[in-house]
Point group: C2
Chain length 192, copies 2
């Protein structure tokens, strides 16, 4: 399988053309011979990590951008209407409205959560490296991280590592609403 070599070939050639560098110029900047660069650009050679590192350095770019295709940003605007959001909750239960599902390119997902008055929820830890954000929209609530509760008012927010037990609690008399933004550590360039 030479998928990464193919992509490497294309991006490297595009990068060089884009900057109007000759093979010699690129060789001078990267410290890699022009012959090697030419072969890589044509997909005839699979460079070692060491030379790839020199190339990335000379081009002042990242290793990853040379190896894995940078996913194109979403072109069409995506709107979430109220009609899409209202998930039927059991009475007295938490209401979960997915605003934006997980997107590989962005690395996170966003929910709108509504907690009935007095509601308490504890969540199991997520995978290691997961970061959760709570942005209070309305109501008075508290977030539990580990064993400490953090009280939050509207317009306040908290960010915490979610790979530990955590929970939410509504301290007020009216429903509490908050945006829940969960970020997962990126896994780029999966091989299968």
């Amino acid at each position: 399988m030479d998928t990464p070599n193919r992509h490497l070939a294309d991006t490297l050639r595009n990068l060089r053309r884009q900057r109007q560098w000759s093979l010699d110029a690129a060789a001078a900047r990267t410290g890699v011979s022009k012959a090697m660069l030419g072969q890589i650009e044509r997909g005839e050679s699979s460079p070692t990590v060491a030379t790839l590192w020199k190339i990335a350095g000379g081009f002042e770019t990242s290793l990853s951008s040379l190896l894995v295709p940078t996913p194109p940003a979403c072109s069409e605007p995506e709107v979430r209407r109220a009609a899409d959001l209202r998930r039927s909750p059991a009475e007295g239960e938490m209401l979960v409205a997915p605003l934006f599902p997980f997107d590989e390119r962005l690395g996170f997902e966003v929910f709108e959560l509504t907690l009935p008055a007095g509601y308490v929820r504890r969540s199991a830890p997520h995978e290691p490296g997961v970061t959760e954000h709570v942005l209070v929209v309305a109501g008075c609530m508290a977030v539990c991280i580990g064993d400490r509760w953090h009280a939050l008012a509207p317009s306040e927010a908290i960010r915490f590592a979610a790979d530990q037990p955590h929970g939410y609690r509504n301290d007020g008399d009216s429903p509490a609403v908050f945006h829940n933004l969960i970020h997962y550590p990126r896994q780029w360039g999966r091989a299968d």
Copy 2:
């Protein structure tokens, strides 16, 4: 400079140990000889992209994770209190409260924006690949993407490519509040 090889060596050995695989087992799964794997783990060899691809495949992980150190997630919870948020706006001006500044590890930043009644703002395009999210907290507003306006009510949201002219408008009589989440394309493994 052998920084990536050093990191590759450590992470590869850790990964294998963590899964309790012998070199033979790893060789069977990756299709790379155990001798090669041993040398790479010991930092004695700089593998080619092709073999690195096979290794990533066998370990069911990403190329990037083998090459660049995965930044640790934030360990201490970060709270944004109301006191931190209130930026003094000129009267009749837009109020910008930074909730979470840009974080290299997460790739985005979050603001809370408040638009006075009738306020209209146009923004210049961001860099290519930037994705913007508008999550309406209160009020009736509209978002302009390119030349089209999208009306939004509370609890509604929109995601769009921000590398084009865009703008916000408050359609109601009361201030409109929304969370603004801006994602920047990641650049991993810079060589310098």
